[in-house]
């Protein structure tokens, strides 16, 4: 398992490829991330790197327990903290306070990007699951956007688990797998990823090496 990057989604745009095709890209400000803590099997029961991103400029925005944690590592307070599980021998490559930069990725690499999707609130079945609703005419009464029947009668005598119904939509962790890195810019800490990534603009995303690609 390798370390990834925490980033901030800046927005989407379109650039042109070599043979003139338009490529939709998402621009992500990724890193520089700082190693805040190293967790080891002896001490914590597992091996990981705790990584911070997005330096907090105002000291009063960091509460005291957190501020102490950063002070212990001797790094500037970071807005976002995350852990990456890592092999113990790989862990030695990183020191506390070390920076992880965008050069982790190269153009042509495949990555998995996770983020918190845009929240849609409590949504009905038409919006949340793409149900068709009911016909708008022919005597339909007060059930235009309903999902219809939710099950049979005596058998099975209960609503099946996992039945698609209305409920909270969005604002949950989503990972999009195997997205291609189009461009990496070291001087501006930018990664340009082909396609869309979860979350709103200025939302935090995590970029890792793709699990399903070699």
């Amino acid at each position: 398992m390798a370390v990834g990057l925490i980033g901030k989604k800046l927005g989407m745009t379109q650039i042109f490829g070599e043979n003139g095709n338009a490529i939709p890209i998402t621009v992500v400000q990724a890193g520089p991330c700082v190693v805040v803590q190293k967790k080891t099997t002896e001490k914590d029961g597992y091996d990981s790197l705790q990584v911070g991103f997005d330096e907090v400029k105002k000291a009063k925005l960091v509460n005291k327990p957190r501020a102490g944690h950063f002070k212990k590592a001797n790094v500037a307070p970071q807005a976002k903290l995350m852990e990456f599980r890592i092999d113990p021998d790989e862990q030695d490559d990183y020191e506390v306070g070390a920076e992880i930069l965008v050069d982790l990725f190269e153009p042509g690499d495949f990555v998995d990007v996770s983020g918190v999707s845009i929240g849609k609130g409590f949504a009905g079945v038409m919006k949340r699951h793409g149900f068709h609703g009911t016909p708008a005419g022919h005597g339909t009464h007060e059930s235009f956007r309903h999902g219809g029947s939710i099950g049979a009668n005596m058998t099975p005598a209960h609503v099946l688990k996992g039945k698609k119904m209305a409920g909270q939509m969005g604002a949950k962790n989503v990972t999009v797998q195997s997205l291609k890195v189009v461009e990496v810019r070291g001087d501006m800490n930018l990664v340009m990823i082909e396609g869309a990534v979860p979350g709103p603009r200025n939302g935090y995303v995590v970029i890792k090496k793709a699990v399903k690609k070699p």
């Binding site: 800046l10 989407m12 745009t13 379109q14 650039i15 042109f16 003139g20 338009a22 621009v27």
Partner: protein
């Protein structure tokens, strides 16, 4: 729009092409790749629509070919556009010239702008 995204878009914009306006008669020379061969094809007509937005900008050219109306949309900053010739400009009173679709022959002419 984010400033950095704006900056990246500006890098990919083509500033060597002439500005086309609505109502212009233009000749757009675009590169066509067939296998490994490249040739240049032109499309001549009237610009009836423009869409803004840095690298995402588009414009649509309309012509009547053998009595059939043909429209082609080009990404304004596409590297496939070889060059654009602006043949004439027209005096127009609308931002989108969709009404030309309903007109035929002499009625579909635009009044030329004189300088």
């Amino acid at each position: 729009m984010n400033e950095i995204v704006d900056l990246i878009e500006k890098e990919h914009m083509r500033l060597d092409l002439p500005e086309v306006d609505i109502g212009d008669s233009v000749k757009v020379y675009s590169k066509i790749y067939e296998g490994d061969k490249e040739r240049i094809q032109f499309f001549e007509g009237v610009v009836i629509r423009k869409r803004a937005g840095n690298t995402r900008a588009m414009f649509t050219v309309r012509k009547v070919s053998y009595g059939v109306g043909v429209e082609k949309s080009f990404p304004k900053h596409s590297p496939l556009i070889d060059r654009i010739e602006v043949l004439s400009k027209a005096k127009i009173r609308r931002a989108k010239l969709y009404y030309l679709r309903n007109l035929r022959g002499k009625a579909a002419r635009l009044k030329e702008k004189r300088f």
